[in-house]
């Protein structure tokens, strides 16, 4: 399903067009279809999800809003989004799923509003095609079938992005498609190591391993406060103290002692009231708050939303350091079309970086495989790896503070940096530190389970624990055997956590530990296996590393709780996000129509920036829906592809895909120059008139749609206008990921 008929769609058995920004309606309809037609996998849903849990009486949903919404703060209090507890302080359950306040009933009631007619009116998909999709996909609810949902930024880059993905999770849980081969909710992420960079916590509120960076708030004043607040009472995350202390030991080494809470105070504490995410960062840069900036291999001038504003923000900087392989638009913002270099006082440093095969190191793909990259040749000229740049920059900055005894400089001076004395840092030492070792013996740990919270272990990133055991860096292993033929390839590289290839694979077996079906087996309970010396009477075995405590039998306590990371051990059909426990369809920030499911048009918790250059377009002036997309021949901001002749010749310049009816209406002929305008900017492109695009009937009105690739910019061989001049500075309710994929524009031919 895709607003565009893409090259992948050309080989699909079934293609369903939908209006950008209506994924929740589309998937909500499938959820309803699966429930109405009893196609869900009942045993899986009852035992492995919180369907049978009863919800607190306070929960309610009416006309697009859940309970506890405060219009002033635009936030929910979420007080009653929790299970109803019995006298034994345990959640009340009704496995028969008949009680009206079971999660199952509430889910069924919530999505009963997503009838096929209503959904097709919102998404614009034809009923016949929609029913074919519903029938085909919901058929995977049988035990011996599985279906996978693959998605990319088309699902996430919306004001309801997080809930989009949540709706995939709910559908997959109802159909029993989580934890089984050929199942899952799989992101096709766009950068070679975006998974690794996210794992390493390069986000404002993160510490490596998906642990929160403490904010500046009383309850986080000290380490104990942080651990009490952040460590759940049940589930695997109860080990967080071991992971967090080991992280602090990795940060501050010798200077991290039980006495000073392992250097907890040294960690920067962000202002809880402030949001430092991508859009706010550029808003604050535009306001002059940010004086200096680093860009490591990121071309924000092209890939960031509302690029006119973001470029103007760059002008305000005192200094900026860019490390990249090419002179990108971000590096050349001071000479961008229309800029006056003389009036831009920014000091710009452009550092030549090494390419992937000109340096050593590991990267993590979307499947969590950490693979090693060997160095084939030296970088050209004086280019250096980012490792070299970071290492040598740190040593110089630290040298400047060497004489200081000020407390504000202690975080820097106490940072542990044991990567050799030479210019080239010892990358194996870094990998060992990340994976974790025992400070007493210097011995590499074999698993993150051996991490301790008493300062005796170092673990830079607990989820990579066990990647570098004593015998060597498992990221380098290249055994191509695939036991069982489900593509787990346990001997190839290392997957976090603990080399598990399919997460929550315990749910591929039933309550007795027997696979639901032979076709879909991953792990199963073998009562005979196990080491009698350790009085193990049975073990989980199979084609993948069990994502479960190996010796806990199905009948033991918690033996049938596959979702080990969640306190209740079962999956969350009902699960709290900022906009509520169930995904609800809301219209995008700029929409051609009102929300026909409720009177709430825009996601109620979305942050609206009331700052300059953030105008909001309306359907009168901008009647056409537009989505941005990527090409297989170009990559992100285009630096790595628009400078390559072989790729520049395949996609030489910016074009816009429009339907023949729209072309006729605007008098546009194929190949002609056109201007696409939104409330925030204008972009010139070539017209690609194609009948792969058709207007859709939305709530009874015909709406035209167009598509714009966003790789192009004024540098490189293949150049073109920056499509992101059009996109808004508005983001998702939870992650603030910008809404690139659905906004409004108008189009006119250029004579």
């Amino acid at each position: 399903m895709d607003p565009r008929f893409t090259r992948t769609s050309s080989q699909a058995d079934l293609y369903a067009p939908l209006r950008p920004g209506t994924d929740i309606a589309f998937i909500g309809g499938l959820i309803n279809y699966a429930l109405e037609n009893n196609l869900y996998f009942r045993d899986y849903v009852v035992n492995y999800t919180n369907a049978a849990f009863l919800v607190d009486e306070g929960y309610s949903f009416h006309d697009g809003l859940f309970d506890g919404y405060d219009p002033q703060t635009k936030k929910y209090d979420g007080k009653s989004w929790k299970y109803a507890m019995g006298l034994d302080e345990k959640p009340l359950k009704d496995p028969t799923l008949t009680h009206p306040r079971t999660v199952f009933r509430l889910l069924k009631k919530h999505y009963s509003r997503y009838t096929v007619e209503k959904v097709c009116a919102i998404t614009g998909t034809s009923k016949e095609v929609y029913l074919e999709v519903a029938k085909a996909y919901c058929a995977t609810g049988r035990p011996d079938k599985s279906g996978t949902i693959m998605y990319a930024m088309g699902a996430t880059q919306h004001t309801v992005g997080s809930q989009n993905v949540r709706s995939y999770a709910i559908l997959q849980l109802l159909l029993g498609n989580i934890g089984v081969p050929g199942g899952g909710v799989n992101a096709l992420r766009g950068e070679s190591n975006v998974q690794g960079s996210t794992d390493m916590g390069l986000l404002f509120d993160q510490a490596p391993g998906y642990m929160a960076l403490p904010p500046a708030a009383p309850e986080y004043a000290n380490l104990k406060g942080y651990l009490d607040k952040e460590t759940p009472k049940a589930g695997f995350w109860t080990n967080k103290p071991k992971f967090f202390v080991s992280f602090l030991k990795a940060m501050y080494g010798e200077a991290a002692t039980p006495g000073n809470q392992f250097g907890y105070a040294y960690l920067p504490k962000r202002d809880p009231k402030k949001n430092y995410s991508y859009i706010s960062l550029f808003e604050d840069m535009y306001d002059g708050q940010i004086r200096g900036a680093f860009f490591f291999g990121q071309n924000s001038a092209i890939s960031g939303p509302n690029s006119n504003k973001e470029n103007s923000a760059l002008d305000k900087l005192e200094w900026v350091v860019i490390s990249d392989l090419w002179e990108t638009e971000t590096a050349a913002f001071w000479k961008r079309p229309g800029a006056k270099p003389a009036e831009i006082a920014t000091e710009v440093f452009l550092l030549p970086a090494a390419a992937s095969f000109e340096k050593e190191g590991s990267i993590t793909n979307s499947g969590r495989w950490i693979q090693w990259r060997w160095k084939a040749v030296n970088p050209p000229g004086e280019a250096r790896s980012d490792l070299w740049i970071l290492h040598n920059l740190h040593r110089r900055i630290r040298a400047r503070y060497a004489a200081s005894h000020a407390t504000k400089d202690q975080p820097l001076l106490n940072l542990s940096w044991q990567y050799g004395l030479g210019e080239e840092p010892d990358i194996e030492a870094i990998a060992r530190e990340i994976s974790g070792y025992d400070t007493r013996t210097g011995q590499q740990l074999t698993t993150f389970l051996n991490l301790a919270d008493d300062g005796t272990t170092v673990g830079g990133n607990w989820i990579l624990g066990g990647m570098y055991p004593p015998e060597g860096n498992k990221a380098k292993s290249r055994n191509t055997a695939d036991k069982g033929g489900i593509g787990s390839y346990l001997g190839w590289a290392f997957a976090w956590p603990a080399n598990r290839r399919i997460l929550y694979n315990r749910s591929s077996a039933d309550l007795h530990g027997k696979p639901w079906s032979n076709d879909k087996k991953v792990i199963w309970w073998d009562p005979v296996a196990g080491d009698p010396l350790k009085n193990e009477h049975g073990k989980w075995v199979g084609l993948d590393v069990p994502d479960f405590k190996p010796t806990v039998s199905p009948s033991d306590a918690g033996g049938s709780n596959p979702f080990i990371m969640r306190p209740e051990g079962v999956a969350g059909l009902f699960s709290k996000l900022n906009e509520g426990p169930f995904p609800e369809h809301y219209e995008p920030f700029e929409s051609p129509t009102a929300n026909s499911l409720s009177t709430v048009n825009l996601n109620p918790v979305v942050k609206i920036f009331k700052s300059p250059m953030n105008e909001r377009g309306d359907a009168e002036k901008f009647p056409i829906v537009v989505t941005t997309f990527r090409l297989s021949e170009h990559m992100q901001g285009g630096g790595m592809t628009r400078n390559l002749p072989w790729l520049a010749e395949l996609m030489p310049e910016l074009f816009v895909e429009i339907s023949p009816t729209l072309a006729k209406a605007r008098g546009i002929i194929p190949g002609q120059d056109v201007v696409v305008a939104s409330a925030r900017g204008e972009v010139k492109a070539k017209a690609l008139v194609t009948n792969r695009w058709k207007p859709l009937m939305i709530n009874g009105k015909e709406v035209e749609q167009i598509g714009l690739p966003w790789h192009f910019g004024f540098m490189g061989i293949a150049t073109g206008d920056v499509a992101n001049k059009l996109t808004p500075h508005v983001g998702d309710g939870n992650t603030l990921i910008p809404e690139y994929k659905a906004f409004l524009c108008n189009i006119r031919g250029v004579k």
């Binding site: 008929f5 090259r7 050309s10 080989q11 072989w646 520049a648 030489p652 690609l688 009948n691 792969r692």
Partner: protein, 288 residues
């Protein structure tokens, strides 16, 4: 000149099987071909569609044709076909090449030998599919040579190796045909017009296509033949010309020997004049 071309009979016939029902037009094959053969890019302006290449060029041996085709029920189908030299058995280029620079290999493919090619362009103008191009600078005809160096080293051709959807496969010819027929049987219900192209055409081509629709929808002629002018040229005009030439020379030799007895003087007896010129020969005559 040679009436009979020295065509090596394919002892180890290979083929590349292109399944258009799997190709997603990612054009990895275009780039891999340029990478292996070190061919520079030849940029063309945006031409109103994803397919920026309109035709082959001296440094473009292959490109993916992308045709948007409207179907009867108002939907649209996007047909992709990787196009390149077809490596025909009944190859016009092999027949017309005056320097024997293009010939069949043991694998049944058509190989253009750069050393012997003089860039005369005979193959360029007579190729059944109009694929071969002329590099006027290097005076060489250019076309896909089936990655012969890779194939001989036991490797797959670059395009077959890089194809991520498995649309392009390389192997022994009858194995590839077997795959094609299996796939055709599977596709026939959904695609009535599906067919195999290249099994029989032109005596069988090195590239075998599994087309999901009629050939012209993919930019291929329904039944390709070597141009009749090539046949006339190579199998009528040339042999006849050589025979005539040989005949003339023999006739002159015979006349010289038989006529040796005549004295140099004007033959008084035949006062009525014997004239000159054979039926083909002729005395000098100025253009009037």
């Amino acid at each position: 000149m040679a009436a009979v071309k020295s065509t090596a009979v394919a002892t180890k016939p290979k083929a590349i099987y292109v399944d258009t029902s799997k190709c997603t037009g990612c054009r990895g094959c275009e780039v891999a071909c340029k990478q292996w053969n070190s061919l520079p890019a030849d940029p063309q302006p945006f031409a109103g569609s994803y397919q920026t290449k309109r035709d082959f060029a001296p440094n473009t041996y292959t490109f993916v044709r992308m045709n948007e085709v409207a179907t009867s029920d108002g939907e649209v189908r996007w047909l992709f076909r990787k196009s390149q030299c077809m490596h025909c058995t009944d190859a016009a280029c092999v027949e017309v090449c005056p320097k024997n620079a293009i010939h069949h290999t043991d694998y049944g493919t058509v190989y253009r030998d750069a050393d012997k090619c003089i860039g005369c362009g005979y193959c360029v103008n007579n190729c059944t599919f109009g694929i071969t191009k002329l590099d006027e600078v290097a005076h060489k005809a250019t076309k896909c040579n089936f990655c012969l160096d890779r194939v001989e080293a036991g490797l797959e051709p670059a395009c077959a190796k890089t194809c991520s959807t498995g649309a392009i496969q390389f192997g022994d010819r009858e194995q590839m045909l077997k795959l094609a027929h299996q796939r055709l049987a599977a596709l026939k219900p959904g695609f009535p017009e599906a067919r195999i192209y290249g099994e029989q055409e032109l005596g069988g081509t090195g590239f075998i296509y599994l087309l999901t629709d009629r050939p012209e929808k993919f930019g291929l002629p329904e039944n390709p033949v070597v141009p009749w002018t090539v046949k006339i040229w190579q199998h009528v005009v040339r042999p006849a010309g050589e025979v005539m030439l040989g005949g003339t020379v023999l006739a002159l030799l015979a006349a010289a020997l038989l006529g040796a007895g005549k004295t140099g003087k004007v033959d008084k007896a035949a006062r009525t004049g014997s004239g000159t010129g054979s039926n083909e020969g002729g005395a000098t005559d100025a253009k009037s």
